[in-house]
């Protein structure tokens, strides 16, 4: 789930000072509006309205059935300060932050490594691109089943490989300390979209710069640190921002890994060590009958995401150099 989405870039670049062409009149405006109507309706009905409604419900005690009663800021204060009512709220915050801190760098490293390899080979790059992208398009339930098996304490492939290096068997998904690294590793395996974006970034580095570096006597390591990494900085910045936003909202991965089949309830793994924030929202919304509190949680998440993103814009280098 840690794979970011493509940015929406403005489709039209405004050109200041340019006068409107003759013949562009009201009917063209009308056609323009007509053309964007489907997108607009989608936006209002499925994004804007639910978001505004959720904000309203976050100030109520709504439980999905009975009429909602206004409770003011109670949901927010209880969430933050009442550990009887919400015993695992702060745990879910901690789990999600830890996951983000591990998953995002791991995903970027794995994506960049894959992109460099793909960029280096001459033959069969399409095949490898397909293979490396497959984890992204694999159904989440299948991903969960495969990885539960890979992490199996008795028969798992991961333990078998580690065994070759003399590392003892681990009970990955059932040891609280290992759950987040295990989940982050799956996210890094699913880094296909970041990999494609990095690949595009690599293709965008002019060949002349690489040649100049070689002539100046830079080896592969120096070229990587002095040319490729700085030139990819805008790409990296973009991937960090979108990857962080996605990682803070991780849900599907945790859900399928701990659901284990058999209609079992998903309460977040051993000792809540995999209780991702959005899973916590889900449980309160649909299992514990507290949609109002769940809405409040999602707005707290929105605020957190906005703060984190603003900090990233302020403190991370964005320009290529």
């Amino acid at each position: 789930m840690a794979s970011p989405v493509l940015a929406d870039r403005p489709a039209v670049t405004p050109r200041p000072g340019r006068r409107r062409r003759p013949g562009v009149g009201r009917s063209d405006h009308l056609i323009g509006w007509l053309l964007i109507t489907p997108a607009l309706i989608y936006f209002v009905v499925f994004l804007l309205y639910p978001a505004v409604a959720a904000l309203y419900y976050s100030f109520t005690d709504w439980n999905l059935r009975a009429p909602a009663n206004w409770v003011g800021l109670a949901n927010y204060t209880e969430l933050l300060f009442n550990d009887v009512q919400f015993p695992h709220f702060w745990k879910s915050v901690q789990v999600t932050l830890q996951y983000t801190l591990i998953a995002v760098p791991l995903t970027l490293i794995s994506a960049l490594a894959q992109a460099l390899l793909l960029n280096a080979i001459r033959r069969g790059s399409n095949l490898f691109r397909l293979l490396l992208f497959l984890p992204v398009v694999t159904a989440e339930a299948a991903v969960g089943a495969i990885w539960r098996w890979l992490y199996d304490p008795q028969y798992g492939l991961i333990n078998a490989i580690l065994g070759l290096f003399g590392i003892p068997k681990q009970n990955w998904l059932n040891t609280p300390e290992l759950v987040i690294p295990a989940l982050a590793f799956i996210a890094a395996w699913q880094c296909g979209i970041s990999m494609i974006i990095y690949l595009a970034g690599l293709k965008g580095i002019p060949e002349s710069i690489r040649e100049a570096a070689i002539i100046d006597g830079a080896g592969p390591v120096q070229r990587f640190w002095k040319v490729i990494v700085p030139m990819l900085r805008p790409t990296t910045f973009y991937l960090i921002v979108t990857g962080t936003i996605a990682a803070l909202q991780v849900f599907g991965l945790v859900y399928v890994i701990f659901s284990g089949g058999g209609g079992r309830s998903v309460t977040g793994g051993p000792e809540q060590s995999g209780l991702a924030y959005v899973l916590h929202i889900y449980l309160y919304a649909f299992r514990y009958d507290a949609m109002g509190a769940a809405c409040a949680m999602s707005f707290l998440l929105l605020v957190l995401i906005m703060i984190v993103t603003a900090l990233q814009f302020k403190f991370l280098k964005q320009e290529a150099s």
Binding site: M1, Y49, Q154, N171, S265, P270, E271, V278, M297, I305
Partner: protein, 405 residues
């Protein structure tokens, strides 16, 4: 997947889509009863349901029963949305732990006195519909967990806790690669099984009438300690492996009838059977299954109860329960048709005679998941003693409910 909107927006969008479904329509000149149930498990199950439906229509001229089948995973969400939108069915399945919630906010109606003869039904199953002493629905089928045992490793199943510990020890001693029993975990599922063990020590989880939390008392502590004591002979690194019991890596496990079919299908060589749970002072177990309720905003309440009586009468209930993957709640049906259940199912039939309903508290799912499950986990991982863990959970529950004892 929508990634840039908040979780709630996604969730609300989902709801907006769902409320479009549901509702009921009335054909002219006849009465239509809308019934919601879970999606059929097999095509054969669909035939059974269809036959019961047509039989009911034949017996009640002018009545049409419209059955809406919804995937189990989406059911509660859809039902909640329908209630919010006022488009509920007349009658439908309701998860056992939801009955108390729906009853207390008057989403469902009380069963009129004299609708059924209560003695016809198993007490545990009927009690899953009881809130504050009143019945708010009828069970359609019921199910429970019981003890699966590998006949090669466990020739005679244990009856008591002492025998259980002893057998588990000897299995693991004989072969350290094999665990005695798959000990349940401290998650929502393990916490659901736990009361069955507590009742086996003569205890109760909660006394709803006198507003008392009892799961920090001796029977519950002993029940949790039993699980803790089983761990040395049942190491997690063995039992956490996928299907450890079916793979022959564990001598016993606690699970439900749904695993019988899976194991028989995927591990035909495994020689296993099912016995009632071992107990300390009295045989006991937990209960699950499907209840059916009549909605306050639905129509034709009389007809709805008639339909539920029809589903649960001794003629239809066995077939229906088998189609739903559970067991009949009608005593006469269960007794008469016991032989139509397979060898392993007999253990469950036996177990269900002593089943206890879970506490009828609207917050029970949350108490189960958020307090009891972590307490079980804390004791099993050795971070707390059983007593400490359950005391803490009980105190939190008291604070949540505002109860003093």
């Amino acid at each position: 997947m929508i990634r840039r909107v908040t979780g709630a927006a996604a969730v609300a969008a989902l709801l907006a889509g769902l409320t479009a479904c549901g509702g009921s329509e009335e054909a002219a000149g006849s009465t239509t009863l809308t019934y919601w149930m879970f999606q059929d498990r097999t095509p054969q199950a669909a035939e059974v349901v269809e036959k019961i439906r047509t039989d009911f229509e034949k017996a009640n001229p002018g009545v049409t029963v419209k059955i809406v089948k919804i995937p189990k995973d989406d059911y509660n969400t859809k039902l909640g949305s329908a209630v919010a939108a006022g488009t509920v069915p007349d009658v439908g399945i309701l998860d056992q732990p939801l009955v108390a919630r729906y009853a207390l906010d008057k989403t469902i109606v009380e069963m009129p006195a004299g609708t059924v003869n209560e003695a016809d039904y198993f007490e545990g199953a009927l009690n899953t519909n009881r809130v504050d002493g009143k019945l708010y629905g009828l069970p359609v089928d019921h199910t429970a967990v019981a003890l699966f045992y590998n006949k090669k490793l466990v020739p005679t199943p244990p009856k008591t806790w002492d025998e259980l510990k002893q057998i588990s020890d000897s299995i693991h001693k004989a072969d350290p690669k094999i665990a005695g029993i798959v000990v349940p975990k401290g998650d929502g599922y393990g916490a659901w099984m736990f009361p069955g063990v507590v009742h086996g020590a003569g205890g109760e989880m909660v006394d709803e009438q006198n507003k008392k939390i009892l799961f920090d008392q001796a029977p519950a502590v002993e029940a949790l300690q039993l699980w803790v004591d089983l761990l040395p002979s049942s190491p997690r690194e063995i039992t956490d492996s996928d299907m450890a019991f079916a793979n022959g890596l564990a001598g016993m496990m606690i699970s439900g009838p749904w695993d019988v079919a899976t194991i028989k299908d995927q591990f035909p060589e495994l020689d296993f059977n099912v016995a009632p749970l071992p107990y300390k002072t009295q045989p006991a177990g937990n209960i699950g299954g499907e209840n059916a309720v009549v909605f306050a905003k639905g129509k034709n309440a009389d007809l709805a109860w008639k339909w539920l009586k029809f589903l649960t009468n001794s003629d239809n209930n066995t077939q229906l329960a088998q189609a739903l993957g559970g067991f009949p709640i009608n005593k006469a049906a269960a007794e008469r048709d016991a032989a139509s259940f397979g060898e392993q199912q007999q253990g469950f039939l036996e177990q269900l005679k002593v089943a206890h309903a879970r506490p009828a508290l609207p917050d029970w799912i949350k108490i189960n998941d958020e307090y009891i499950a972590p307490a079980i986990e804390a004791a099993l991982s050795g971070k707390m003693t059983s007593q400490q863990a359950l005391t803490e959970a009980a105190d939190k529950t008291r604070a949540l409910l505002g109860w003093n004892s």
